[in-house]
């Protein structure tokens, strides 16, 4: 793996793309080893590479005083350089950027998605609502991970295309997810990023192996974690759900009418619910209960 990373690139699937990753940074080598161990690695010479992503130390005097990392994709640098210790988080953000900025044959939702018995549960919420943490808990209980950040809804058939990349966790949720069980693998914690402390959970190998199996959405939940809160669960109107989802769509303006139709189809096929909760003990059985009615 190391030879590929410093050579012609480690080619791995990234959503519906194949991405060649190159880096000389130890943090990236270690992070990929921890989090992407189950990922298939493609042969560079035979695979069509959609994007080349490089993450390395920028040239310049600053690197002597304060090492930095810069991410480049096809000659573009979508982010400003960050401290080198945040390189792995930056790579994950960069791969998210690759997917969300270029997958315009899909509706790209800022949402988590998990699958059970062939059908998908979509979790859409603003950052900080506990979406990824809930997604990690569901995955730990046996749901298949489709994606924790970007739900790719096909414009052809409305099904959700798996990404199965690591689940991104912030601050207190890192400890919460670690406590779920000894089988949870979490990479190095990147401290003091723009989003606070950030770490990633390795996706289960079963989810990675099923990466080419999309799933039709059956339920849509707007989750909201409130520390110490009680369970409040209610069905949400499809109209309201549609308006709220529009806010979470990355490429609604690019897709225009086609995107709007995809959103309409989604709320028509996936029953929307709103759930507020203060603990996994409240929310997980509630999701099971609601799921048993749709599945």
């Amino acid at each position: 793996m190391r030879a590929r990373l410093v050579g012609s690139g480690l080619v791995v699937p990234c959503g519906s793309f194949a991405v060649a990753i190159r880096s000389r940074l130890q943090a990236v080598h270690r992070g990929l080893g921890q989090l992407y161990a189950d990922f298939p690695v493609f042969d560079r010479s035979r695979t069509y590479v959609d994007f080349e992503v490089e993450i390395d130390a920028p040239f310049g005097l600053r690197s002597l005083v304060r090492p930095q990392a810069i991410l480049r994709c096809d000659g573009r640098a979508p982010f400003k350089p960050l401290p080198a210790s945040q390189a792995m988080a930056m790579l994950e953000w960069g791969l998210n950027w690759v997917i969300s900025s270029h997958s315009h044959d899909h509706l790209v939702l800022h949402a988590a998605a998990v699958e059970r018995s062939g059908r998908a549960l979509v979790l859409a919420a603003d950052p900080g609502s506990g979406k990824s943490t809930l997604c990690a808990a569901l995955v730990h209980r046996g749901w298949r991970l489709l994606s924790d950040k970007l739900a790719l809804v096909s414009l052809q058939d409305g099904r959700i295309r798996p990404i199965a990349r690591p689940i991104s966790l912030k601050n207190a949720s890192i400890g919460v997810v670690r406590a779920l069980g000894a089988d949870i693998v979490i990479g190095d914690v990147c401290r003091d990023t723009a989003k606070g402390d950030v770490a990633h959970m390795k996706p289960p190998s079963a989810s990675v192996q099923a990466m080419d199996r999309p799933a039709a959405p059956a339920m849509l939940v707007f989750p909201r974690y409130r520390a110490g809160g009680q369970l409040v669960s209610r069905a949400e109107g499809r109209g309201r759900a549609l308006i709220e989802l529009t806010r979470h769509a990355f490429n609604a303006s690019v897709l225009a009418g086609e995107g709007f139709e995809a959103l309409c189809d989604l709320v028509a096929s996936a029953r929307p619910h709103r759930i507020e909760y203060g603990s996994f003990d409240q929310v997980l059985p509630e999701i099971d209960r609601l799921w048993s009615r749709v599945a």
Partner: protein
Amino acid sequence: MTTLALEPQLLSLTLCDPARAVAYDKTQWERLVWQSRAAELMAQLHLVLSEASVLASAPAPARRHLEIASVIARRHADAVRHELGNLRQTLEPLQVPVVLLKGAAYLAMGHDAARGRIFNDVDILVPKTALKGVEQRLNWDGWFPLHTTAYDERYYRDWMHEIPPLQHKNRATVLDVHHTILPPTSGYRIDADALLERCRRLDRDPACFAVLAPEDMVVHSACHLFFGEFHKGLRDLYDLHQLLSGFSEEAGFWAQLVERATSLGLARPVLDALEQSRRLFRTQIPQYVERDLRPAATSIWPGVCRRWLFDHALRPPHASAGGRMTAFGRWLAFVRSHWLRMPLPLLAYHLSYKALLAR
């Protein structure tokens, strides 16, 4: 990948001879897609390949990128048409000529240069005397300055050929309002009235707008590119190639271009545009045009330096097209653009401000 030979002209060669793509291998297709994305020419490439019926020979993933680009370009065109409709409603009551520039003009004229083009902003030109009224009406309709520092204000008001860029508060579209086509500080004092005199009213929707006469459109486009930073150099040159190819069918176009470029003192950038467009896109240009422009097209730099600079600055900004010296060439092009735009003392003042004090 670094061991493979560079292909600095892969994109331009494919755009003017799409049939050669039938023989491309996987790596060349990868590079073609990367270079065209970096150069913002992917939708134009899609168009050329599909019209030459060679899209089917592309690997499926390459075809997918190209098709997505073409969808995005269509959305851009829709958005600009919509924006022009809004602008017409805002500015029509003023009863002043509103000349669309660059992309918006190509689109409103229905020119081939608009096909597949990505629009980053809308550019208009209005008489300097009408500027105040235009700005006020735009403000009322929700257009506000994008930069608001006192320095930016002064930079645009005193030195540039446009007012500070405006952005619409709801739609986030950026609008550049020009009163002439080159910064007065460049030493070229272009009489905008002479441009407005020859401008052509558009007979199709949107009705209140005009566009520059063909020769002026080419002059403007050439100045914009060859006095500029070559930020989207190859895309701008492709625009020029399309403009020239389209206008060459109009009677008297080439003679008028020579006359206009010479009388405005802009033979140099126009000749550069013609030479580079022919070099990269094989534009058909009558022989006498370059011959007639050459005596007026003077430069303090030797031709070999200029050719070297343009070669590097006009490459797609992707590693597979640029060599070791390309970054240096681009930097020189950036310095040159400032050199051409401002006299040295002003340039020193501007760059020191940007380096030391600007936030």
